[in-house]
Symmetry: C2
Subunit: 370 residues, 2 copies
C-alpha cells in the first residue's frame, strides 16, 4: 500500500467512468461554435415566470444568508397546493437530488431495483452508485409496461420500482387506474418511485393526487420544466412523513439554495404563467406533429414538453442527430437504447425556434436515406 495514488471505496472503485448526459455547453466546445437552437434537454424556452425572476433577483441581494434548511414556507405552500401536510414534503436540489436520496435511503448493495430499459439515465446512475442491482424491462409499444415492471419487481424482490409518468423519453403516460393497479401488484416492501417531472403538461387523470401516507409510494415534482427553473435546482417529493424524517438523517440540509426557494415560491403563485406555458407547449406539440408528418416522419403522442419523432431506424436517427449538431448547430437528444433509439427527441421551443428546427430538419433529411 503506497500513498502515490488516492484510494477509493469499494463501491466507487468498481464504478465505470460514465456520466449520464453530455451537456449542450460541451457540444459547443466540441463543435467550436455556439448552438443556434437548444431544444434537447427538455428545458422550457418559455423561461421562468416574471414573478419568479423578481423573487430570485430580490433573493440574489440577500444571498449572503443561508437558506432555511427546513424549507418551511415553501413546503407549506406545496402542501397547501396538494392538500397534504408539510411533513409529507421534502425539498431537493431537483429531482436528480431526490432520486439519489431515495436510492441511498432504501438500497443496500445488491438490492434489486426495477426500471424500464432506456428510462432516465440519472436514476440508473444513482442505483449503480449505491450498489443496487438494476433489473430492466423493455418498453412495449413505446410505453412503459406496468404489468411487466410489476412482474420483474416480484421476481427480483425489488426494493424500488422507478416509473417516469409522463414518461421520458417516449412522452407516453399511464392513467390513474393503471397506477393503482401497479401499486397493488408491487411485492411487499417495494417502493414505487413516481417521477412526475412532466406532470404540469399531463392530463389530470395521469397525475392524480394520492394518499401522502401510502407507504408504497413516493412522488417527485420539479420546477425545472413548466416552471422554467432548471438552472435553479429545485424540486420536491411527496412521501410518508416517516420517510421524510428519514431523509433528514442524510440529506444536504442547506442544499436547496435560497434563490431557488424564493423563486419556486413565487412561481407556485403564478398559475396564469404556468397555464400560458402549457398552452404554448400544446401548440408546439401540434406544430411538431405537422412538421414530422410533412417530412414523412411520425411524432409519438406526448403528455410532456417534448416529442419523440420516429425516424424508422436507429442509424437514421443517429445520423439526423449528428447532422443537426454539426451542420445546423441544433442541439436535440435521442433515446440511448433499442427499440426507442429509432427516435429523436425534441423539446418544444418557441414558435420561431420550432420553425428553425423544421427548416434544419428538412435540410439534413435531404442527405440522409430513409
Amino acid at each position: 500500500m503506497t500513498s502515490t495514488r488516492p484510494r477509493y471505496s469499494r463501491l466507487v472503485a468498481a464504478l465505470p467512468a460514465v456520466v449520464p448526459f453530455v451537456p449542450p455547453e460541451a457540444l459547443e466546445r466540441q463543435i467550436g461554435a455556439e448552438l443556434r437552437l437548444r431544444i434537447g434537454a427538455n428545458e422550457s424556452n418559455f423561461g421562468p415566470s416574471p414573478k419568479a425572476v423578481a423573487a430570485m433577483t430580490a433573493a440574489a441581494a440577500r444571498v449572503n444568508w443561508y437558506c432555511d434548511p427546513e424549507g418551511h414556507v415553501l413546503r407549506e405552500a406545496i402542501a397547501a397546493r396538494h392538500g397534504i401536510r408539510r411533513d409529507n414534503v421534502v425539498l431537493g436540489a431537483g429531482i436528480d437530488d431526490l432520486l439519489g436520496l431515495v436510492v441511498r435511503t432504501v438500497i443496500d448493495p445488491g438490492d434489486a431495483v426495477v426500471m424500464s430499459h432506456g428510462a432516465y439515465p440519472t436514476f440508473a446512475f444513482h442505483v449503480n452508485g449505491f450498489g443496487g442491482k438494476l433489473v430492466t424491462v423493455p418498453y412495449r409499444d413505446d410505453r412503459n409496461d406496468p404489468e411487466a415492471l410489476a412482474a420483474a419487481a416480484q421476481r427480483s424482490g425489488a426494493r424500488l420500482l422507478y416509473l417516469s409518468n409522463p414518461d421520458n423519453p417516449t412522452g407516453s403516460w399511464l392513467r390513474a387506474a393503471a397506477q393503482t393497479a401497479l401499486l397493488a401488484a408491487l411485492p411487499e416492501g417495494c417502493l414505487l418511485v413516481l417521477d412526475e417531472a412532466y406532470a404540469d403538461f399531463a392530463p389530470a387523470d395521469a397525475v392524480p393526487e394520492t394518499a401522502a401516507e401510502d407507504p408504497r409510494l413516493i412522488r417527485m415534482r420539479t420546477f425545472s420544466k413548466a416552471h422554467g427553473m432548471a438552472g435553479a435546482r429545485i424540486g420536491y417529493a411527496i412521501a410518508p412523513a416517516e420517510m421524510v424524517r428519514s431523509f433528514d438523517k442524510i440529506r444536504h440540509h442547506f442544499g436547496v439554495n435560497r434563490v431557488a426557494q424564493e423563486g419556486a415560491l413565487a412561481s407556485l403563485g403564478d398559475a396564469e404563467f404556468i397555464a400560458s406555458v402549457r398552452r404554448e407547449v400544446e401548440a408546439g406539440k401540434r406544430h411538431y406533429e405537422r412538421l414530422a408528418a410533412a417530412l414523412g416522419l411520425k411524432a409519438l403522442p406526448s403528455a410532456t414538453n417534448f416529442v419523440a419523432i420516429d425516424c424508422g431506424r436507429a442509424e437514421r436517427a443517429k445520423a439526423i442527430l449528428a447532422a443537426l449538431l454539426e451542420k445546423e448547430r441544433v442541439f436535440i437528444r435521442m433515446p440511448g437504447v433499442a427499440p426507442l433509439n429509432r427516435c429523436i427527441r425534441v423539446s418544444v421551443g418557441t414558435e420561431a425556434e420550432r420553425r428553425l428546427f423544421g427548416e434544419a430538419l428538412e435540410r439534413v433529411l435531404a442527405d440522409i436515406p430513409a
Copy 2:
C-alpha cells in the same frame, strides 16, 4: 415483512435522527418573532459583491437552462487563480456537498476517520451517514492538535483526516510548516481533507498553495464566507485529477446551480470587494475584542470572520446564548462540546450590528453570574 411502513437501508436505519444545525429561521418560529441580529452562522453581513448580484440577476432570467454540469468556465477561472489545471478543480454545492462527496468516494463502512472533537458537525454527519467510524482528538489550548491528529490516524489506520484551517469554531489557524509536517505524518493511504472555508480571512502563510497532484491532500474553498454567497450554494475543491474524475462517477452533475456559477465567476473577478470585506472583518474582530474585554470576557485570536468569546464556564455560555435569543432576539451559536463550550461564537457583522450586539450582551450579562 409487510408494506405498512417503508423499509430503509441498513446504514440509514441505524442512523440517529439528528440534524447538524438548528437554523435561525427555526429559532424565529420557536420564539414567534423576527430576530434582531443574525450573527450566528458565520454568514457575511457585508453581502455579496455588486458584480455578483448583477451576474446572478442576469442568470435568473436564463434560469430555464440547466447549468453547465462541467462548470467549464468557472473551473478555468478558479484554476487560473490558483495556478493549477482545470482538471484539478471540482465544483460542489458548497463545502457541505464536497465533504459528502469525498467521504462517499473514499470511505467503506467501518473505515476510520479522524477529526478534532467538536469540529464541523456536518463533516461528522457525512462520516456517520456513510458508515465511517469517527475517531476524535481533543482540541489543545483551543487549537487543533496536529501531532495528536496524525497519531490518531496512525493508530486507527484512518482513510481520512479532517482539518478546518482556519478553524471553526475556535478561529485558530495552522501555518504552512505545521501543515507540511501533518502531511508527512499521515499513515499510508490517508487523505487530508483541508477545509479552507475561511481562507479569505487568513494570513497568507496559513493557506499556502500546494501541489494539486499531491495524492495525500484535498483542499476545499467556498463562496459562502468572504464572497457573501452562502445562500447560493457553491464551493470547490482542489484535488488530484484522478480523484476529480472519480467524483464524476457519483456526483450530482447538474447540482451546482446556474445562478451560483455565474455569481461566483463575477465575484472571483471582484478582488476589490473581497479586500474590502476582509478589512471590515478585521476591524470587526478588533471591535469584538474590545467589547469582550470591556465586559470582562476574552476573545480568542481568530483568522476567520467570527470570534469565539471565552465566557469561563459552559453553563454561563449556554445561559448567555439562551438569553441573547429569548430576551434580545439575537442569534449567535456556541461550540457543542467541552472544553470549547465555555465559549460563545459570534460572526462579524456590520459596525451597527456589532454595537447592537455589545449592548445586548451587556444587558444579558447583568443577570448572569460569572
